[in-house]
């Protein structure tokens, strides 16, 4: 029985895809999981893979052609199976009716294809997230957004095992609300200032803390007065002398080992991750009815690409070495520029860093990437006359501006974080503390 090859939704927001290159030609044998074609989505170039074994037939989308998600672009026939003549080419994307219409026109136009396709069911809406009922329930209970996961089941279906990696199996999230229910909010023991639990020993990647009434009111009022995300900004100037010296020394050593060099941005990412572990209040997501305080630090790193911007994520940056961060950042940035990032590589950050230092920008404000609650904007390092111990001396200085979501982070909270970050950058040894 033949299986239709659909233009699949290869990113959560993809509505159409451009066939960059066919890896298989009409008549080529294909196996499940093999790459059939490269498809350019709205974010990256992704592989369209075979969902069945057989022979590729009726390739209906030419290289360079853009087709709507859900359209049939080819058929995988069983070996020796006689599939009918090629059908009409797929309709161009985004013309006339929505993609659903386009898909059904396609199927109607190809009368023979319908027969060849047998009972294979076309996705009614290929942009919807496919997940098993269990996975949906687990995601709902764990507060995980299914769109952020890439499904490992057939047709990209999100299944239980995909959530076992993403969602905590530890009892932490289930336990926290129970505690909150059984005690009045005011009686919850606060292990840390601001009521934000320190990274738990439970091993869970995060803990959901229900919004208190005052937090709800703050959220509502600030959002109503300042727009969807009530930003405020904090700027500090950091002395980068010692960080520069440390970097030079490290790079000399790494150079001797033939390893890649460490950039200022890597040092800033490392210091930011480290400072966030000391200020979990800033490592959080605003989630409408609760704030998710992450126990892990995933740093989004803004990378300029040809026609826009993408933020690949350095996961668990708090526990990675500077050399690892450097290597990973370089590799992610390069693939970001080549549009080769997988969706799971640019989603799920808990905090972001944007650096325009290389453009000689002294200082700027960055826009928060929701649901994250903060982002730092890093300016260039410039030599300036500075008074040190009563003496005017030239020092390398850098400005950092933090944008905070006021629904999550208050002024003093953000300032405390920024002070720690500044201390770590001014005295890199502090990161060892």
């Amino acid at each position: 029985m033949a299986t239709n090859v659909y233009m699949e939704a290869l990113s959560p927001t993809m509505e159409e895809g451009r066939v960059v290159k066919w890896h298989k030609r009409d008549g080529d044998p294909v196996k499940t999981g093999e790459t059939l074609a490269e498809v350019e989505t709205d974010k990256a170039v992704m592989d369209l893979v075979a969902r069945a074994d057989g022979v590729l037939r009726q390739v209906a989308a030419a290289e360079g052609q853009t087709v709507a998600v859900g359209s049939v672009v080819a058929v995988i026939a069983a070996p020796g199976e006689n599939v009918s003549a090629p059908s009409a080419p797929p309709p161009p994307a985004s013309t006339g009716g929505g993609k659903r219409d386009a898909g059904s026109e396609m199927r109607d136009a190809g009368g023979g294809m319908r027969e060849a396709a047998g009972v294979a069911v076309a996705p009614a809406d290929a942009t919807r997230v496919k997940a098993s009922p269990l996975a949906k329930r687990m995601a709902r209970e764990a507060g995980v957004d299914l769109k952020l996961l890439s499904g490992s089941g057939p047709g990209g279906r999100v299944v239980k095992r995909d959530l076992e990696g993403a969602a905590p199996r530890a009892p932490a999230p289930a336990v926290a609300p129970t505690v909150a229910e059984s005690h009045p909010a005011s009686q919850i023991p606060h292990p840390a200032p601001l009521g934000i639990p320190h990274p738990a020993s439970s091993g869970a990647p995060y803990e959901d803390v229900p919004l208190t009434q005052i937090r709800k009111t703050i959220a509502k009022r600030l959002a109503a007065s300042l727009g969807p995300i009530p930003h405020f900004f904090l700027t500090t100037e950091v002395d980068m002398e010692r960080a520069s010296e440390a970097r030079d020394a490290l790079n000399k050593q790494l150079g001797d080992q033939g390893a890649g060099k460490v950039s200022f941005n890597d040092i800033i990412i490392k210091a930011t991750a480290h400072a966030l572990t000391k200020h979990p209040a800033c490592n959080a997501w605003f989630q409408e009815d609760h704030i998710r305080y992450w126990h892990e630090v995933h740093i989004g790193m803004a990378v300029a690409v040809e026609d826009g911007l993408i933020t690949p994520v350095i996961r668990n940056a708090e526990s990675k070495s500077l050399a690892d961060i450097g290597r990973e950042a370089k590799e992610l940035a390069e693939r970001a520029r080549n549009r080769r990032l997988q969706p799971n590589e640019y989603t799920g950050a808990t905090f972001s860093v944007s650096n325009l230092g290389m453009f000689d920008i002294d200082q700027f404000t960055a826009v928060i990437n929701p649901p994250e609650a903060g982002i730092i904007a890093v300016g260039s390092i410039v030599q300036k006359p500075v008074v040190v111990d009563g003496q005017l001396t030239p020092r390398r200085r850098m400005r950092i501006t933090m944008s905070c979501d006021h629904r999550v982070i208050d002024g003093a909270t953000g300032a405390a974080f920024l002070r720690t970050l500044k201390q770590m950058l001014e005295n890199p040894l502090a990161m060892l503390l």
């Binding site: 098993s132 009922p133 269990l134 996975a135 949906k136 329930r137 299944v159 095992r161």
Partner: protein
């Protein structure tokens, strides 16, 4: 506990129930002098005499009807069919009389009758004699249907069937009669409508009954050895009523199910089980439920084709791999 064959466990159940209740009698082709085509009634004629162990002509509709009449008159007949393939001739008495008289008499006339015999394929008996009637018989309101897979369940379910005041179908198996297993002595009753976990597991549930239980157990062993997969084997034992609680409970633990049966796929027992699962365990499912059945063809006579047409360990393993997303 004594180790008995399935046939001797049935024999023990018949003997004990006939000793216990003088209204119980056995009737069918070759049950007396020949001691049963499969020797299930061995020694019973000698012990209970020709009034209670009754040989009949080859006339399924006739003796099934006599059985229904006897039940209406207050006796507790056990009607043996040489195979359920022959019982097709008696379906009018089973479906139109036995199953409906209690209802049609406004609850006045119970029909405490047991219809029993081997069901499904043996080896190379060809299309007309290799059929599983599970879903045909389970379709009828007014009948209870049991399909024991082990000697202990055979004894316990037959005894419960004989004591039940409704018509009960007991589906046995020619390929099961020689199966040995431990059987509790004396008063061992298995309640009708209660499934049994034959092997506990975590990752996938094999829902099966009768001959397919051993197929499922082998598949579970293979998966444990080769894949480290822990499969639960749930033996339905009763096909009507079905033990919904056990089915849903098991699927809630494993999140995946494969339903295995000897019969054909269309409107089979598995279809009914899948209906329960999708309705009662929807949010527990991590994969569509798959079924392993006999191929949708009359049973081939050719030995190799027959083997391929039957549910096999390989097919169960393959289905399990699919619901576990291992392929």
């Amino acid at each position: 506990m004594a180790t008995l064959t399935y046939r001797d466990a049935l024999n023990q159940a018949l003997r004990e129930e006939m000793q216990r209740d003088h209204d119980v009698f056995l009737m069918g082709e070759e049950v007396g002098v020949y001691q049963g085509a499969y020797k299930v009634s061995r020694g019973l004629l000698e012990e209970f005499g020709p009034k209670r162990i009754v040989d009949t002509p080859i006339a399924e509709l006739g003796f099934a009807g006599i059985g229904v009449g006897a039940a209406m008159a207050g006796l507790r007949p056990v009607i043996e069919f040489m195979t359920w393939n022959f019982a097709v001739l008696a379906l009018d008495q089973i479906v139109n009389s036995a199953a409906k008289i209690l209802y049609e008499s406004g609850g006045q006339i119970p029909i405490p009758i047991v219809f029993r015999g081997p069901n499904g394929a043996a080896l190379q008996l060809a299309a007309q004699h290799s059929q599983a009637w599970d879903s045909w018989l389970s379709h009828i309101p007014g009948l209870k249907v049991v399909a024991p897979a082990t000697p202990a369940d055979a004894k316990g379910l037959l005894k419960s069937a004989i004591r039940d005041n409704n018509p009960v179908i007991v589906l046995e198996g020619e390929m099961l009669y020689n199966l040995k297993g431990e059987v509790p002595e004396g008063e061992h009753l298995v309640p009708i409508g209660r499934a049994d976990v034959k092997r506990p597991g975590r990752d996938v549930t094999f829902i099966c009954h009768s001959k397919t239980v051993s197929v499922a157990l082998k598949a579970a062993e293979q998966l444990a050895e080769r894949e480290g997969v822990s499969a639960e084997v749930l033996d339905l034992r009763s096909l009507r009523p079905l033990d919904e609680e056990a089915i849903v409970g098991s699927v809630a633990r494993t999140n995946r199910a494969v339903v295995i049966e000897e019969g054909w796929p269309h409107a089979g027992i598995g279809a009914q089980v899948v209906d329960i699962i999708q309705r009662e365990a929807f949010d527990q499912l991590d994969a569509p439920v798959l079924r392993v059945t006999q191929a949708d063809v009359p049973m081939p006579y050719n030995k190799q084709l027959e083997r391929l047409a039957k549910p096999s360990t390989d097919r169960v393993v393959a289905a399990a791999r699919r619901v576990l997303y291992l392929d």
